[in-house]
C-alpha cells in the first residue's frame, strides 16, 4: 500500500477518534450520561477513578491525542511520521491499560472507550506501517 493511502487511512481514523473523544469530553463536562449501547455501562467507567489522570479527564487527553495525530499528518518528512507513530503507540498502550482496568477493576465496559481503543489500535498499525514504509523506501 502506498504511503498516500496509509496517510488517508490515518486521517479518517484520527477524525473518527476525534469524534468519539469529543463526544466523551462533552458528556463529561456537561455532566450528562453518555448514550451507551451493547449493554455497556459508560457512566460507571466515565465516573470511575480511572476517568481522569492528575485531574485531567482521560476523554480530554484522548481528544488532544487524536488532534495531535491529525496535526502530525500535516508535518512533512520523518518528523511527522515518527511523531504520528509515537502518539498512536502511546494512545494504543494507554487504551489497552484502560480497557484492562474496565474489565478487571471497574467491572464495567464503556462502549465508546472500547471503540476509541479499536480506532487507536488501527491508527498505531497504520502509522507504524508508514514509518516502516519510509524506511523501506515505499513510494509516496
Amino acid at each position: 500500500m502506498t504511503d498516500r493511502r496509509l496517510r488517508l487511512a490515518a486521517l479518517v481514523l484520527a477524525l473518527v477518534g476525534l469524534a468519539i473523544a469529543g463526544y466523551l469530553t462533552y458528556v463529561h463536562y456537561a455532566e450528562l450520561e453518555p448514550v451507551c449501547g451493547l449493554g455497556g455501562d459508560c457512566e460507571r467507567v466515565q465516573t470511575s477513578d480511572y476517568a481522569d489522570l492528575a485531574g485531567v479527564p482521560v476523554a480530554l487527553m484522548g481528544l488532544a491525542g487524536y488532534a495531535l495525530i491529525l496535526a502530525s499528518l500535516a508535518i512533512p518528512g520523518e518528523l511527522g511520521l515518527v511523531a504520528g507513530a509515537t502518539l498512536a503507540l502511546v494512545g494504543f498502550g494507554f487504551s489497552a491499560y484502560l480497557t484492562y482496568r474496565e474489565v478487571a477493576t471497574i467491572d464495567a465496559i464503556c462502549t465508546w472507550c472500547v471503540a476509541s481503543a479499536v480506532v487507536m489500535t488501527a491508527l498505531a498499525v497504520v502509522t507504524c506501517a508508514r514509518v516502516v514504509g519510509a524506511e523501506a523506501g515505499v513510494p509516496h
Binding site: T47, D49, A51, D52, A54, L89, F94, T105, A134
Partner: protein, 231 residues
Amino acid sequence: MLGAAVALAAVLVLVLVLVSSGGGGGGSGSTTTESGGSRGGAVAGRAEALALMAGIPQNGTALGSPRAPVTVYEFADLQCPFCRDVALETLPDLIRKHVRTGQVRLVYQDLAFLGPDSVKAAHAAAAAAQQDRLWQFAHLMYANQGEENSGWVTDALLDRIWNAIPGLDVQRAKRAAAAGAGTADLALARRLARSYGIDGTPAFVAGRTGGTLEPVDPADLNDQIDSLVSG
C-alpha cells in the same frame, strides 16, 4: 525510526499508567479504586436519580404524598447488593408509576446491619433526610456502591454525593452525619423490622395507609403494589 518511536511510546505509557494507578483514590489498590468508586465532580447515576425524584414531595425518610392511599416501607442497607439491584432496577418503575402519581408513599427504613460502612452510610443518609433529600442520596449511594465493608463509604465519596444533590446544604449534612444523625431512627427501624419478622434486606411491607402493613416479596413488588393500588 520505528524502534525509537516504540521505545519513546513505551516510556510515556509507563508514566501514564503509573500516574493513573497512583492517582486512583490515594494510591494503588486503595479500596475506592478497587471497588470502582468514583471521584471528581461527576457522580454515577446523578442524572437518573435527579430525574426520578424531581418534583416528588419528600419528608424525612418518606417519598411521596402523605395522603397517598398506599404506604410501603422499605427495609434496606445501603451497602447490600440486593438492595442496590432493587433500588436501581425495580423501584424506579414503582416510583414513576405510583409514587409520582400520589398513589403510594415510600418510607425508607435503614437497618445498617452489614458493618461499619453501613452505619457510616446510614448517618450520612439521615443527614440527607433532615433536608428532605434522602431518596436522591440513597439512589446515588446504590449507583456508586462498593464492595461490602471494604471502606468504600469514604468522606470523599459522601462529599461528592451530597454535592451532587441540588439544594442540599453539604456543610450542614456533614455536621449532622458527624453528630450521628439518625441513630435513634436506626434503633426504631430495627425494632420495626423485628416486629414484621424481617431478618434480611431488602424487605418490604405494604398496605393501605393507616391499616395493617403486610410483608411483600421484593421479587414480586411491583405486581403486588399494583394490586394494592387498584384494590
